[in-house]
């Protein structure tokens, strides 16, 4: 019997490891991102010292502006609500990260939960990425109002996603509840079909 349980991708049976390309010159490219360590942090943003503790434990400032994210080194923190953040780190580091945070925030009105397997993460890049997303997403992604560093919690197709822009090409990442991932992947692949030159 196996000594160690083998991890599987949520798209294991849909070929998610292989990037999907649509259009000549990769007008848009869709990839499943390997799992990251992820922590949900709940904290009162009005509690300045708690914020300070969290910052020290993470080594990075929590974004306090709604709809933004902030990354340094291998840590990215996504704003989720006025009292909630999603901290991403390299896979395997989450337990330690959670422990650090838990310890730093002990005795405060805060909660740290490992959610590394709660979501799947996709990368969408290429010049028509915006056109692909706007088929199912009502957020205005025009560069005048949404650029690298921005984030949106919104509905894409029929599911809730966390969508954030990581590059001007543009490049977006999105996280979706794992049980919805396959649906969203298929939806994106179908939507991308239009950009394949006939």
């Amino acid at each position: 019997m196996a000594e160690h349980l083998r991890a599987r991708s949520v798209l294991a049976d849909a070929g998610g490891e292989v990037p999907r390309m649509f259009g000549d010159a990769a007008a848009v490219r869709l990839t499943e991102v390997p799992p990251a360590g992820a922590i949900v942090l709940r904290l009162d943003a009005a509690d300045a010292s708690a914020l300070q503790q969290a910052r020290e434990a993470l080594g990075i400032q929590l974004p306090l502006t709604p709809n933004t994210w902030h990354g340094e080194g291998d840590i990215t923190v996504l704003w989720q609500a006025y009292d909630e953040w999603l901290a991403l780190t390299a896979d395997g580091r989450q337990t330690e990260m959670a422990a650090r945070l838990t310890q730093a925030l002990a005795g405060r009105h805060a909660a740290v939960t490992d959610v590394s397997d709660l979501h799947a993460e996709f990368l969408i890049e290429g010049p028509v990425g915006r056109d692909l997303l706007r088929k199912g997403c009502a957020v205005d992604l025009h560069p005048r109002v949404f650029g690298t560093g921005h984030l949106a919690l919104t509905a894409l197709a029929r599911v809730r996603v966390v969508l954030w822009q990581t590059g001007d090409a543009p490049a977006y990442r999105l996280r979706v509840e794992r049980s919805h991932a396959r649906y969203l992947w298929d939806w994106l692949a179908d939507a991308g079909g239009e950009f394949i030159d006939g």
Partner: protein, 94 residues
């Protein structure tokens, strides 16, 4: 489709939200409320024609509840404010 101004995420189509009905309802003291008062609390709403304060949940976004001041005839929204904030004097009637 209404544009609901989430105080945090910004304005989004109402399909991203759940409507929570009239805001600032008082829950009567359960130990002292009569059946009549409890029934009022459960079922009776002002059903305002005009400007009303109501609750919305950004269910597909930040998952937070907040209050909105909206005209139920024109659908115009004049204010949105977080839960726990008292009724601001925003607009007539309400």
């Amino acid at each position: 489709m209404l544009l609901i101004p989430c105080p945090w995420c910004g304005a989004r189509p109402d399909s991203e939200f759940s409507a929570g009905g009239e805001a600032h309802l008082e829950r009567p003291d359960p130990d002292h409320a009569s059946d009549g008062q409890w029934g009022e609390y459960l079922y009776f709403r002002r059903n305002v024609k005009g400007v009303q304060r109501e609750r919305w949940l950004h269910s597909h976004g930040c998952r937070r509840w907040f209050n909105v001041v909206r005209d139920t005839v024109t659908h115009e929204i004049t204010a949105a404010y977080p839960m726990g904030e008292s009724m601001k004097e925003t607009g007539p009637g309400a």
